[in-house]
């Protein structure tokens, strides 16, 4: 069946090249049938890529080791779920997933906007161009359908990837990364066609929000995977590949805010184009970091020859997007100006500057090893203090702005109005800060500021809902009238939970480590951990050694934990099996790591007590809920937009 996969991929390549070339020609020379044909090519590319993906999935499910890819990433003893997840576990498969999602998204976006022919005619070649790169890589550089004599067993899967989170985390991230191609393609299509009205924004509003949601959820799932699987006691390590997902998310967050200014005031047209291009290029850069292995990362599971190709493609994308924005600058001039530096739109602007500054400082940190290597042949990297400094410098003001923004009126706000709206949140913040200092939690300045600002933001969000409900008569009507705004506030509340969780679990965590013989105990932050026994267990694809550790608090037994280590014989790899007690009283965790067992049965136990850490995961649920509220279609608005952009279709329906 590998031949079918190869043929399907070659067809995908031919189709997207056709969409690029015939689509460009048709859009430039105004050829209707050729433009429709190019559009069909893009739709067909999804079908052929789907066939190629089905071939690879079938080979994985059948454990057909004559496929080099299957033999390299799975083994006979690997459970079926993980075997199928090998689809995105390796380089070739993940490139195929990129192309599959891209062609699927492209087909759907083009079909949904098929009535805007003039715009779509230019969107098709842009999407075709991006897809051409990935199809080319799959056909000629890194094919998942290479064959060889089948070995008796496969090489297996890296131990850390054998985790349920790996079934969802990479596809979520890819849905986010790839999703950012759609707003990019529509923005570039709008510039190429000269249609710089808001049509492209309307067409891509939900795509951007969807991609951004997937990227956010993907990162949280990845953080949870790192927390429970990597076994170092944290969830975010400023690893280059983690940063690679964070950067486009920050750029997309900035865009989601600034695009509202364009919609409401007709301003920031150039800035929005820049942000869309930045988010897309950062998503390609993220894929490059993940797949090339050029920077040392816990996620770079292999070195590969893709780096040069990706760098070339990124260069083409950057030159293309900067060039086209520059050429179309005259069409992007705003007719209105910022009326006041104290207004809602001004707070959005400040938020944008901070978000982009944070994204760019992270980019600098990620690229630093590459740059030092290129300049003086010596790889140097920046570490946690660098990132933490900028997180505090830009993240804390961003947190505060999340609370200030909703309190400020559009256009301009007077000092008297500000005094009236700020009083309750300001009192809440001061009381919280004072209380924290009073109970002795003022030792960490960033932690103290994070909680003080969080109180301000929380009060501001609650006030927004209370005053809005009073003004409209009901909460339901309030949210229904402006789902994007109130969904956005729910998302802000989730960011707040995240900030509280991060501050609590990092600034106020306790770490202890010591060797214990059976029967011995250790005390950590009010918990007593007693090492009872040691067990060996044989699993389908691994052998594990785990300790039994009893946890008590105030003399009462609260949990029995089993930290240990697993050995994967096929992969010849070890994995850490951390064991965690979720304490409902502190919303925190007692996190145990069996660092080492010696031959006398001594356990070297590392214990981390992380208060409030579960708020980080709870934030994920609230984030999804808020995003869904914001994404939910608004019938009134859709009718208004249809009247604006498709008057013929509306007239025909009525």
């Amino acid at each position: 069946m590998a031949a079918l996969g190869r043929v399907a991929l070659l067809l995908s390549f031919a189709l997207v090249v056709y969409a690029l070339t015939a689509g460009s020609y048709a859009a430039y020379r105004r050829r209707r049938r050729l433009a429709l044909s190019a559009q069909n090519a893009l739709l067909a590319a999804f079908g052929t890529t789907l066939v190629a993906s089905a071939v690879l999935l079938t080979a994985l499910a059948r454990r057909d080791f004559s496929f080099v890819y299957v033999a390299s990433h799975t083994s006979r003893s690997l459970p079926l779920g993980y075997t199928l997840s090998a689809f995105w576990g390796g380089q070739e498969g993940s490139l195929l997933l990129w192309l599959l999602i891209l062609s699927g998204y492209a087909a759907l976006a083009v079909w949904l906007n098929r009535r805007s022919r003039e715009l779509v005619a230019w969107v098709v070649p842009v999407l075709g161009g991006v897809a051409t790169f990935f199809a080319f890589m799959l056909c000629f550089v890194s094919s998942p359908f290479d064959k060889a004599v089948a070995p008796a067993d496969g090489a297996g899967m890296v131990a850390s990837l054998q985790n349920p989170y790996m079934l969802a985390h990479p596809p979520m991230l890819y849905l986010g990364y790839v999703g950012l191609t759609i707003p990019f393609a529509f923005a570039m299509g709008a510039l190429l066609s000269g249609r710089t009205d808001e049509r492209w924004i309307v067409a891509t509003r939900r795509w951007t929000l969807t991609a951004w949601t997937f990227l956010g959820v993907g990162q949280l799932l990845g953080a949870h995977w790192a927390y429970v699987e990597i076994g170092w006691g944290g969830y975010y390590a400023w690893d280059p590949v983690e940063n690679a997902a964070l950067m486009p998310w920050l750029a997309a967050t900035a865009f989601l805010h600034s695009v509202m200014i364009q919609e409401k005031r007709g301003m920031l047209k150039v800035w929005n184009m820049v942000l869309v291009a930045l988010a897309f290029n950062l998503s390609i850069f993220g894929t490059f970091l993940t797949r090339s292995g050029v920077i040392n990362s816990i996620h770079s599971f292999s070195q590969s020859p893709l780096g040069g190709w990706f760098l070339g493609f990124i260069a083409v994308c950057v030159v293309f997007s900067v060039g086209i924005i520059y050429l179309r600058l005259p069409l992007l001039r705003a007719r209105t100006k910022l009326e006041s530096l104290v207004s809602r739109e001004a707070t959005f602007l400040y938020n944008n500057l901070l978000l982009v500054a944070l994204a760019l400082t992270i980019l600098w940190g990620v690229m630093y090893p590459l740059l030092t290597q290129a300049v003086n042949g010596e790889t140097r990297s920046v570490s946690k203090p660098y990132y933490n400094f900028f997180l505090h410098s830009f993240g804390l003001p961003l947190l505060l702005l999340m609370g200030i923004g909703p309190l400020v009126a559009w256009r301009r706000a007077s000092l008297r109005a500000l005094g009236r709206t700020f009083i309750i949140p300001a009192v809440a913040a001061l009381v919280t800060g004072g209380a924290l200092i009073g109970v002795g939690l003022g030792s960490s300045t960033p932690g103290l500021l994070a909680y003080t600002f969080s109180a301000f933001v929380f009060a501001s969000i609650v006030l927004e809902f209370v005053r809005g409900t009073r003004a409209t008569g009901s909460l339901r009507r309030l949210v229904a009238k402006n789902r994007r705004r109130y969904g956005g506030y729910v998302v802000h509340a989730s960011v707040l939970l995240l900030a509280i969780g991060i501050a609590g679990s990092s600034a106020y965590q306790t770490i202890r480590e010591r060797g214990l013989n059976q029967g011995q105990s250790m005390e950590v932050a009010g918990y007593t951990l007693t090492y009872r026994s040691l067990q060996n267990t044989q699993h389908a694809n691994s052998q594990s050694t785990s300790a039994t550790v009893e946890v008590s608090r105030g003399g009462s037994h609260v949990a029995t934990l089993h930290p240990g280590k697993s050995f994967y014989p096929v992969e010849n790899d070890f994995g850490n099996d951390v064991s965690i007690y979720h304490d409902p009283r502190t919303i925190g965790d007692v996190f145990t790591i069996a660092d080492q067992f010696d031959k006398n049965g001594t356990l070297f136990l590392k214990v981390l007590v992380k208060p409030l850490v579960n708020l980080v995961w709870a934030a994920g649920f609230l984030f999804v809920f808020g995003s869904l509220v914001a994404l939910w279609p608004d019938a009134v608005e859709q009718r208004r937009l249809a009247e604006r952009y498709e008057p013929g279709a509306v007239a025909a329906r009525t």
């Binding site: 069946m1 590998a2 031949a3 079918l4 043929v7 399907a8 067809l11 189709l15 056709y18 048709a26 859009a27 105004r30 050829r31 209707r32 049938r33 050729l34 433009a35 429709l36 044909s37 069909n40 090519a41 739709l43 067909a44 079908g47 052929t48 066939v51 022919r117 003039e118 005619a121 066609s193 249609r195 009205d197 808001e198 049509r199 919609e263 409401k264 005031r265 007709g266 309190l407 400020v408 009126a409 559009w410 256009r411 301009r412 706000a413 007077s414 008297r416 109005a417 009236r420 709206t421 927004e464 005053r467 809005g468 009073r470 003004a471 208004r640 009247e643 604006r644 952009y645």
Partner: protein
């Protein structure tokens, strides 16, 4: 192998037919010109966007006033210009007997 290649050939044939469909359905169309946004349509969109923005700004001002973010004085001060802008945007969209599409197009 043969089956796979046969399936591949079938897939290729289907794809070719699908891509050629616009030409197969309309071998000799009266016009093969892609719709283009003319000056009139461009102006109509600009005016509609301006109208929606002006009406939204009025709504926002009203809501900000009711939720206490805008004082009574500021509200009164801002209401007039915003109303005028909305009225202008609405008037600009009204069909005018003296302006035919050619004239509108000619101004741009």
């Amino acid at each position: 192998m043969a089956l796979a290649l046969a399936l591949g050939a079938l897939l290729a044939a289907l794809v070719v037919v699908f891509v050629a469909r616009p030409f197969l359905r309309e071998p000799a169309p009266a016009s093969d010109r892609l719709d283009e946004q003319g000056a009139v349509e461009r102006l109509r969109l600009e005016l509609l966007e301006a109208r929606d923005r002006a009406l939204a700004a009025l709504k926002e001002l009203e809501f900000d006033h009711r939720t206490g973010k805008v004082t009574d004085d500021d509200y009164r001060e801002q209401l007039g210009p915003l109303r005028r802008r909305a009225a202008e945007a609405l008037r600009a969209l009204e069909p005018r007997a003296d302006v035919r599409p050619e004239h509108v197009g000619g101004r741009h």
